[in-house]
Amino acid sequence: MSLEIVVCVKQVPASTRVRLNAATNTIIREGIEMMLNPFDAYALEAALRIKTSMGGRVTVISMGIPSAAEILRFALGLGADRAVLLSDKRFAGADTLATAYSLAAAVRKLGTWDLIFCGRQAVDGDTAQVGPSLAQKLGIPHLTAVSRLEFLSPQRILCEKMTDEGYQEVAMELPALLTVVKEINTPRFLSLEGYLETLGAVVEIWGADDLDLDPSRIGYDGSATWVMSTAAAERCKNGKEIDGSPQEVAAKILETLTQQGWQSLTSEDRHE
């Protein structure tokens, strides 16, 4: 039995310098250099490795402006089999809930799926919410921050996931959705053959009308949250300059530490 694997990817600005649409307070994504969200590269790599070891098919899916097809072609060049881009003005301005709802409709249109991979989070929004939200919309379990994955049987996996305190091992039946951290693998580079493949690669474009969904739940209007205002984050202090030899500077740092309530360790406290 071969596995159907879906990877959700996002196109993000290559730099975190951004421009905003003042009317809607949403990001202007046109006219700036874009790239594959770095965390999604690990998700894609995890999927491609399973395809190699277990057999199966990898579909990459994204929602975004038409130029987001570029990251999908890149994924096809790396070895993905099929690429779908949800692109429609009506999807624009979606919050994580409306995004998850739209992606769920697209994943269902694919038919069957066994494993869905997402990156831990996207580096532009940093919310880490779409993965778990999508799993709920599809009615399948999810696990976040997965750092290792092995198959116990063709339909059962054992995952190691990072927690705040350490790690957990969790066994899961498929279908399941996993968000992965960079510990899981080292993504491959695009080969010359792969690059040539990207040139002619076909990305399917799906609009809202191609999907079985409620149009009132997508895009800006269908979102539960709205950005009311944005402000540049600035924090500026007029710090004190400390000059002198390394010894003098070190003595002054110790003085600062003491002023701030630090107490030097007694010999019993030391680990050595």
Binding site: T144, E165, A232, C236, Q260
Partner: protein
């Protein structure tokens, strides 16, 4: 009149729809799905069915009007039966919000029965505790917890629901919000009540901390937010406070859970980064992986935690658990000694604004100097070695 039915000819008894229902209204009967009177026609089950076996007829979408709701909920995340510190910070913040909105504060405990912890929640600002103490909730389960939280929220209709932005909170809150079809703002660093509308103003850093966005959830309830640890202030515990503890009996048998095989806690020498009073941070400016040892010795000699910039982690000089910043952890030590850290906004997003920051860097133009309390424009390795010597250590020793 809304109506929902299971087309029995199509239903295969696959059970996919059971966990999709936030109201626990679907059960199995004769290998077919059965929808009980608890159904509110939310439609969450319909798309989940792969066989189009559930048919729903509704007058209009359920979220057209803001439903009535009241109260501020705080998710009382526990680990090993103990409340996590972020919960106390959330209760402190909820108390500030409740003064502006005249709301009751409810702490929601899922986990083992722990009366002392429930009393602690009240002492820290909760007016009421709702506790679900099922053996299956002892382990923090990313599939089971959201179902329980969603069902509680449907029953009691809170207006605001705050969850700590811990690894676990960031997993279960979006799933619960998705089940409730409500909005969720991630990693808030500031909360307030809009005086006109009474809505929760949810402010969070975005784009690597370059922007602060204030976000509203206008018509759906609860208004949900995850809040970064170490940002809000806990109140001093007041055990003279009294509050009602509601032990909620909930039948979890129909709810799917994860199969957690084992849980491991990392034990490192010295204090964890989370609670260290002093943290030594290293950036690429220390020069090479060989220098890391010097800073490990320095941290040990100071009784400090060791933090790193993302660059240092990406180079493999230290592991990810040390990474502080937007994609790492947040810290709030009294003093942060930053060695060779340029001070990207992403890194600074992980450091509390209340921390006294000493920056050591030979790059005169490092951005960190703009936000530092004390600036040392010098070779960081020489300063660190001198500091270690004055503490009685020796960098060369192994």
């Amino acid at each position: 009149m809304s109506e929902i039915r299971v087309v029995t000819e199509k239903c295969t008894g696959c059970r996919l729809c059971l966990p999709a229902c936030p109201y626990g209204a679907i059960s199995m009967s004769g290998k077919k799905a059965l929808i009980s009177a608890a159904c509110v026609f939310c439609g969450a089950c319909v798309p989940v069915c792969r066989f189009d076996a559930i048919e729903l007829f509704t007058e209009k979408p359920a979220w057209d009007e803001a439903p009535s709701s009241s109260g501020i909920w705080v998710f009382a995340e526990q680990v090993d039966g103990k409340v996590k510190p972020v919960v106390l910070e959330l209760l402190g913040e909820a108390s500030a919000l409740a003064r502006k909105k005249a709301s009751k504060i409810t702490a929601v405990w899922l986990g083992p029965d722990a009366p002392d912890q429930l009393q602690c929640l009240i002492a820290q600002g909760a007016d009421e505790v709702i506790a679900v103490t099922d053996a299956r909730l002892a382990e923090r389960d990313e599939l089971l917890y959201p179902q329980v939280l969603a069902r509680l929220a449907v029953t009691y209709r809170p207006e605001i629901f705050l969850v700590g932005a811990t690894g676990f909170g960031r997993s279960i809150a979006p799933r619960a919000a998705s089940a409730l079809d409500t909005g969720l703002t991630a990693d808030c660093t500031r909360l307030d009540i809009d005086p006109q509308s009474g809505l929760l103003l949810q402010t969070r850093p975005a784009f690597g901390g370059n922007l602060l966005a204030t976000i509203l959830c206008r018509t759906r309830r609860p208004q949900m937010a995850t809040v970064r640890p170490k940002v809000m202030q806990a109140l001093p515990a007041d055990y003279s406070r009294s509050g009602n503890v509601r032990m909620e009996s909930m039948d979890l048998s129909g709810m799917a859970g994860l199969c957690i095989e084992s849980t491991h806690v990392n034990r490192e020498d010295g204090p964890g980064l989370d609670n260290a009073e002093v943290v030594v941070g290293i950036g690429r400016g220390i020069g090479s992986a060989r220098q890391v040892k010097l800073y490990k010795h320095l941290a040990a000699a100071l009784g400090a935690g060791l933090a790193a910039s993302r660059a240092v982690v990406d180079l493999g000089w230290v592991d990810y658990s040390h990474q502080v910043g937007q994609t790492g952890i947040t810290i709030a030590p009294k003093v942060y000694l930053a060695f060779g850290i340029s001070g990207s906004v992403q890194h600074m997003a992980g450091l509390s604004e209340n921390t006294h920051l000493v920056a050591v860097n030979k790059d005169e133009n490092a951005p960190i100097f703009a936000v530092a309390d004390e600036r040392v424009r010098a070779d960081c390795n020489e300063v660190a070695a001198a500091l270690l010597r004055q503490l009685g250590g020796d960098a060369a020793r192994e």
